[in-house]
Symmetry: C2
Subunit: 348 residues, 2 copies
């Protein structure tokens, strides 16, 4: 098969690798229909130490089941499926509570033992829990826009949804979204899906914020830092936003979130924090601000979101603005890193 | 009047001061029935710089109304009242949402302009919002235990209640409480009031943890640090507690909370953090742990708690284990600082 590996910062290579095989009776092997590059892939793309062995990369996938292990009960070869970005048995105590990213048997792709999903074939652990069948869609005949939206249910849209969900977004709420990347824009769409009254999108790229408006942003604030904080406070009568979706993960974005969150509100983070110490502890304490978020249990949200995508009510796949063959994945990393592409889809 | 002033670390003096007077038509003047010393008073008692002018101290009070300003509508001289530890108009947008500690007209006692409540007389701003009338109780004839419990509605019990409330404590939940001080013990009682199934109290003082058991703790863990974390994890099948009430405010207590909180759980803090940077950001992110808490809007909880105290269903006043005359307040600080007293009540 063909698969992408990261050898170090700025060094992604697509290579021929051995086809994956069933290792456990709960595994499935799938053949990729679409994969993609995640904003979170850019963190190691900036920082990974150069090594002699490449680390497999990628964690988002729609695919067709090729082979199933003896204990797989809900899937058969030929099924068209969405793979969640983390795998899980979907039966453990955490999974039953909707926190599948803490599954006792769960884990993440992108390690030598699990492989990556920027690949033409992939092994999926706990296939019954980690793959969701898409009914009545033929991937070979489907509209490319539908495939793109289905692919967002693997991670990006439902990561934005998680941010809105754990932020208690609902009717009457004012939501501010920091970051006009694919997760932030997904957060805009999810906030509107959950009934938010106002969604203020903070971002500086006009083409991206235009998509945010399409997704339902009611206001766009281009300013950042103190100026951006002041503008959002003005827009909210001095109070700030009930929910701030912090979709960046960098310290200045968190500080901005702290500046615009309303007393009693929530900062909901879904970008892996790129800092180890959280500042402004007392300021946030005095305001009774909650901090929420983490890796999205997309498996908990996918069943509700899938019909919305299938019936065309939402089109989260519009975050993909470039499609490349898997072999050109390195070019996709360059484009996303340079902010020339919002999110890059990969064909096998 | 007689009032306590802090001149610097370890230096509390009770002095004769001018009687407070009505400054705004929404003020009331009250005559103290009982006041007390708070664990939070010990922070400046450790750190306040020596000065030539004392800072008025104290923020907990039950009292009799002596005089009301022209705009006070719900109170009259002779009313027996509880003063909330922060004052508020109880009508602003935050107050109406139950976040009175963010009241647009609100504030805290203990400053030269507001005075302190460890005093024989006090001026209460926004009296209609900041004083709650206790019906059908004659403070001169009431049982001392009842007076003690009423006094806890000024701060300590309802601060513990806030921790449990914002931690989403409810039936089926396992709650761990870090700290066997008066707030932690109040958190135990509140967690049980909210229906917690198990309440694990972490504390090392047998007389205090015994009171915790009286309040409803189902288990007591005396160990701290890694050993304490391991013990709580053992008690919870390796998972940790759904809600950790962190009633200390010091860094090691927060780290302990991070170690025992269950994935998807909440760390609920009600002690003013004595650190400015929160550690373990990524670890808590990966577990989808929420951070909640802040200054308790006790005004939001007092109406529901008052009947429980009046009918004897709960006796939160048992956190007071020493009573001194106001003139001996310095002795009370010494006793609390030395952990010889859990919480000191002051008579006028």
């Amino acid at each position: 098969m063909l698969a992408a590996f990261m050898y170090g910062a700025g060094d992604v290579r697509v290579e021929t690798a051995p086809d994956p095989v069933i290792q456990h009776p709960t595994d499935a092997i799938v053949r990729t229909v679409r994969s993609c590059i995640c904003g979170s892939d850019l963190h190691p793309y900036h920082s990974q130490k150069e090594g002699t062995r490449g680390r497999p990369v990628g964690h988002e996938l729609i695919a067709v089941v090729e082979e199933v292990g003896a204990d797989v009960r809900t899937l058969r070869p030929g099924d068209f499926v969405i793979a969640t970005f983390a795998f899980q048995d979907n039966t453990c105590v955490y999974c039953r509570e909707g926190l599948q990213t803490s599954c006792v048997h769960g884990g993440y792709y992108g390690r030598p033992d699990t492989g990556g999903l920027q690949a033409s074939l992939a092994r999926i652990p706990w296939a019954d829990g980690s793959l969701v069948k898409v009914p009545d869609v033929d991937p070979d005949a489907a509209d490319p826009g539908l495939l793109a939206s289905l692919l967002t249910l693997s991670d990006v849209y439902l990561t934005g949804y998680h941010a809105a969900h754990v932020g208690d977004v609902g009717p009457g709420r004012t939501v501010a979204v920091i970051g006009d990347g694919a997760v932030g824009l997904s957060g805009v769409l999810a906030a509107r899906e959950l009934g938010a009254e106002r969604v203020i999108l903070m971002g500086r790229h006009p083409d991206r914020t235009a998509l945010g408006v399409h997704f339902g942003a009611t206001e766009v604030v281009a300013a950042r830092g103190d100026e951006g904080v002041a503008e959002v406070r003005d827009l909210t009568g001095g109070e700030g936003a009930h929910v701030v979706i912090e979709a960046v993960g960098l310290l200045p974005a968190f500080e901005q979130a702290a500046g615009i969150v309303r007393a009693g509100g929530v900062i909901s983070r879904v970008g892996l924090p790129q800092f180890s110490q959280m500042p402004l502890v007392r300021e946030l304490f005095y305001k009774n601000v909650r901090i929420a978020g983490g890796p999205a249990p997309v498996r908990a949200y996918i069943d509700a979101a899938l019909p919305r995508v299938l019936d065309g009510a939402i089109d989260p796949g519009r975050v993909f603005d470039r499609t490349l063959p898997l072999a050109d994945a390195p070019e996709g990393y360059v484009a996303m890193d340079a902010r020339e592409a919002l999110k890059v889809m990969l064909t096998p």
